[in-house]
């Protein structure tokens, strides 16, 4: 027979594991211990089981496999002694999960323990069942648990109540069985039982419609007073709950339950949640609650987290029950106050709730716009994100200019990692709500200047579409872009848009055509304009797309600026030797066009692009993201001159990695169309 002290004690094992300096050392110790435990298990000696399981649990927490100990849990649970059962159940809950079949073997022990004379053993069983039972076990043992809800000891009643919540979640059909027992719990005085009882009722109401009706209308009403226990004959459970809540709100200081000046905030919150379920969709019940909700909302201290937790729940309930607009305004004002709270947890929670509140009362939330904007600048990243989302929900035609200004001002000083989200949001707001094109273009220019590298392709494509459609603004736009790109030449997207515009509207740029009243004239020579484009090609950190676009722009400019076409030709020729295949190809092809420009209809080749059809672009963009790949396959909208709207998009995504194979054919297509020369199979032509 084994000595009782075989193997190391738990304490010693923990010490020796902690003393290990390397992972390998630890593995060694654990391996030895596991071997000892296995040997001990094989000997089937009951004395060491307790200690073995404790050790196994520790080893399990370190992350090592321990399934060989699962049966030990069962044996311990089946032992008569309390300490064995205690650790056995703990092991069960830790080492097993409900999906394992081994769990079914415990059902019999559980049944016996639920009927044990020692109430602490009953407690162990209820706890284990409530934490990990499967649907079958729930079905088997539900009658026992239901009975225990009425047990003499409150400790057991509360455990039985929570165990029942798990049972009805697992097997909703059983909900009906628990209705009566649950409603009896609502008259309890013991806080623990009351909390768990209310929780059970909440579960029943959300799972089962009949239960909901029952608790709304039929259950007898009981009044709870700290010292008096009385029956009232009005048949509405809701009123009973309201009374309970009122009592707890008004109650004097109870040291046992006090948390930062609130008596039992957990009970407050549970009651509020249940009232929410009862009031939702029921005007009468909602009516009954308005007073107590207003009282909780106005009287609860909000300088500590406990109070705020109660207020938060109260606001949730107000939002969920049937409309009493004064109460809703009260709720939103509470949230507004939360927004200025120094505690960032509170601010975070308020922002979340305000997003839901917008659905009910946009006006009330709008009043807090300024504070919300402040939160966009918060040092806490999660708060900034939430605030930004909320702001974008608040934008409408009236406030868009003001809001956008604020956001763009902030964009200039915000952190790099926030710029992406912020710029994306600004772009989407601006696109959706812009009142006039010139404002849109201005805002986009500012965003591109500050955060161009974060702006996505479809956004700046959209900008170009709008620009091309705003013919009266072509001059203004190209001048503004020229000025911007001189200052912000490292913003890739800005450079691309600028190059495209200079290519298209270069003549407007140098001749100050289409000046608007607000503009000052600037002097830009043809050479200056070409400088910008050349710079984009030669700059070492320009990417492929930009360089390719620059070449196309040069091609256009060689027609628009005949006086410096030699210089332009030189730049193109230099690129014939480029190491980038795309650049080489374009350079060669464009050069041959420039060389032969006397022979072909030169100016019409690169005449002003036809206006890109906004509607089509928007449809395509909405329907197919990423738009670029699918536009290649689809026949593009037919536009005079046979120039498809696709080429713009094609051109621009030649830089993207996905479709490297396609470029040369689309480049050739472009030329093919216009020259009218059949350079081979025309079946692949896109337009």
């Amino acid at each position: 027979m084994n000595s009782i002290f075989s193997g190391t004690r738990l304490r010693d094992m923990i010490r020796s594991i902690r003393a290990c300096k390397t992972a390998a050392e630890e593995r060694g110790v654990v391996r030895k211990e596991c071997a000892d435990i296995r040997a001990s298990i094989n000997e089937n000696d009951p004395h060491d089981r307790h200690r073995n399981l404790a050790k196994l649990m520790f080893i399990h927490m370190l992350g090592y496999p321990t399934h060989f100990g699962q049966m030990e849990c069962l044996k311990l649970i089946a032992s008569p002694g309390f300490p064995e059962k205690r650790i056995g159940y703990l092991g069960l809950m830790l080492l097993l999960d409900e999906r394992q079949e081994v769990l079914m073997l415990v059902t019999n022990s559980l049944k016996q323990d639920l009927n044990h004379t020692n109430q602490y053993v009953v407690g162990l069983a209820l706890c284990a069942l409530g934490n990990i039972c499967s649907a079958e076990m729930a079905r088997d043992l539900a009658p026992e648990v239901e009975r225990l809800i009425q047990f003499r000891d409150p400790n057991i009643r509360k455990k039985a109540a929570l165990c029942s919540t798990r049972i009805v979640r697992k097997v909703p059909d059983l909900a009906e069985n628990f209705i009566n027992a649950a409603s009896s719990l609502l008259k309890e005085k013991h806080h623990g039982v009351l909390i768990t009882g209310v929780q059970l009722c909440y579960e029943l109401c959300t799972i089962n419609d009949e239960a909901l009706e029952y608790f709304r209308k039929v259950a007898p009403l009981f009044a709870l007073d700290r010292s008096i226990y009385a029956y009232m004959s009005i048949a509405k459970c809701t009123e009973g709950l309201i009374k309970t809540l009122r009592d707890i709100t008004n109650s004097a200081y109870q040291p046992e339950y006090d948390v930062a000046g609130i008596t039992d905030p957990f009970l407050h919150i549970r009651l509020l949640k249940l009232l929410r379920v009862l009031g939702h969709g029921d005007a009468d019940a909602s009516d009954l609650m308005t007073d107590i909700l207003a009282q909780v909302a106005t009287k609860t201290e909000s300088n500590k987290n406990a109070g705020n937790a109660v207020l938060y729940e109260c606001v949730e309930t107000i939002m969920a029950i049937e409309d009493t607009s004064s109460l809703r305004v009260l709720a939103i004002n509470i949230l507004g106050r939360f927004l200025s709270n120094r505690d960032n947890n509170i601010r975070y929670v308020a922002l979340n709730m305000l997003m839901k509140a917008i659905a009910f009362d946009d006006q009330a939330v709008q009043r807090h716009r300024v504070t919300i904007l402040e939160c966009v600048k918060d040092p806490d990243a999660s708060i900034r994100k939430r605030a930004l989302e909320l702001v974008s929900l608040l934008v409408n035609e009236n406030n868009v200019k003001q809001l956008t200004k604020e956001l763009i001002d902030y964009l200039e000083i915000s952190d790099e990692d926030f710029k992406e989200d912020l710029s994306a949001k600004i772009c989407s707001i601006v696109e959706k709500f812009s009142p006039e094109k010139i404002w849109y273009i201005d805002q986009m220019l500012k965003v591109l200047s500050e955060a161009g590298k974060f702006v996505k392709d479809d956004v700046w494509h959209a900008l170009i579409v709008v620009i091309s459609n705003a013919s009266e603004l072509h001059g203004y736009t190209v001048r503004a872009l020229y000025k911007a790109v001189l200052t912000y030449s490292e913003q890739e997207t800005l450079v691309r848009v600028a190059i495209w515009c200079i290519g298209e509207y270069g003549d407007l740029l140098v001749n100050n055509v289409g000046m608007l009243g607000i503009e000052d004239p600037i002097t830009v020579t043809e050479s200056d304009a070409v400088d910008v484009v050349e710079d984009a090609i030669t700059r070492h950190n320009s990417d492929m797309t930009t360089k390719a676009m620059a070449l196309v722009a040069l091609l256009k400019l060689s027609s628009r600026f005949p006086s410096i076409s030699e210089r332009i030709k030189d730049i193109i020729v230099k690129q014939k030797g480029s190491l980038l295949l795309e650049m080489q190809q374009r350079a060669i092809e464009f050069n041959s066009i420039v060389d032969r420009h006397k022979n072909i209809r030169w100016s019409s080749l690169v005449e002003r692009m036809p206006v890109l059809d906004e509607a089509t672009f928007n449809v395509r963009r909405a329907g197919s993201l990423p738009a670029s790949v699918s536009t290649m396959a689809k026949p593009s909208v037919s536009i005079p001159n046979g120039v498809a709207a696709a080429p713009l998009v094609d051109l621009l995504d030649l830089g993207s990695d996905d479709i490297m194979a396609a470029p040369s054919s689309s480049g050739a297509d472009f030329l093919q169309d216009l020259l009218g020369v059949d350079l081979g199979s025309s079946s692949a032509q896109s337009g």
């Binding site: 902690r18 927490m61 909703p172 987290n305 947890n345 509170i346 929670v349 999660s382």
Partner: protein, 203 residues
């Protein structure tokens, strides 16, 4: 662990949805009303995790079904997220569509995972409630207490939460129940000690 959302029509049979979802073993389910304000999950708290600043796990308790493998993955992932949070940030992290409420006490992070719709301020109170009970029990509790007496930390947690819901709001009551059980264990040990002694003497 995907989250299934379905919009309610007024006469929705909630029971049917529940058992359907259950049979698909999806972790949590939202049933949203038109006003999106009424939500119910399978359990307020999905799991509890205590992890040290070095990333060592001191306690894990699972109230939703996670296999052992899933548990390790969750622990690794979540520890990484939480241990990297700056000190001044709020105590809530959005993670995999859930919210994790965490609070640091000395060298330990106490984390509880809840549904996105739940009251995170209350969970902060629950964490604090737990810590205060531990503190009373161990007398100025420190991490070392929870390492050598992990099973007691679990016993206490089991008096505080069942099925992911709070069980008792009175610290005094919890202390009383734990102490009663401790006494039973002591009594049983003494009795066993004396019997074994007798047997050992006899053999």
């Amino acid at each position: 662990m995907d989250r299934l959302m379905s919009l309610c029509v007024p006469s929705l049979n909630l029971r049917m949805h529940r058992s359907l979802i259950d049979s698909l073993e999806i972790q949590s389910c939202y049933l949203l009303s038109e006003h999106s304000c009424l939500a119910s999950g399978f359990g307020s708290i999905h799991f509890v995790l205590l992890v040290s600043r070095q990333g060592k796990v001191r306690l894990t308790k699972w109230y939703s079904p996670y296999t052992q493998k899933e548990r390790s993955k969750v622990i690794r992932e979540l520890s990484g997220v939480i241990l990297n949070r700056g000190p001044k940030l709020c105590n809530f992290v959005e993670w995999r569509g859930y919210k994790v409420v965490y609070k640091r006490y000395a060298s330990l992070y106490f984390c509880m995972c809840i549904d996105a719709e739940d009251n995170e301020l209350e969970v902060l109170e629950i964490i604090h409630h737990y810590v205060e009970i531990l503190d009373r029990y161990f007398g100025s509790v420190c991490e070392l207490d929870l390492i050598f007496n992990f099973h007691k930390a679990y016993y206490i947690l089991d008096e505080l939460l069942i099925a992911g819901e709070i069980q008792e709001s009175s610290k005094k009551t919890v202390a009383r129940i734990i102490s009663a059980q401790d006494e039973m264990v002591e009594a049983a040990k003494e009795e066993a000690g004396s019997i074994s002694y007798i047997i050992a003497q006899a053999s």
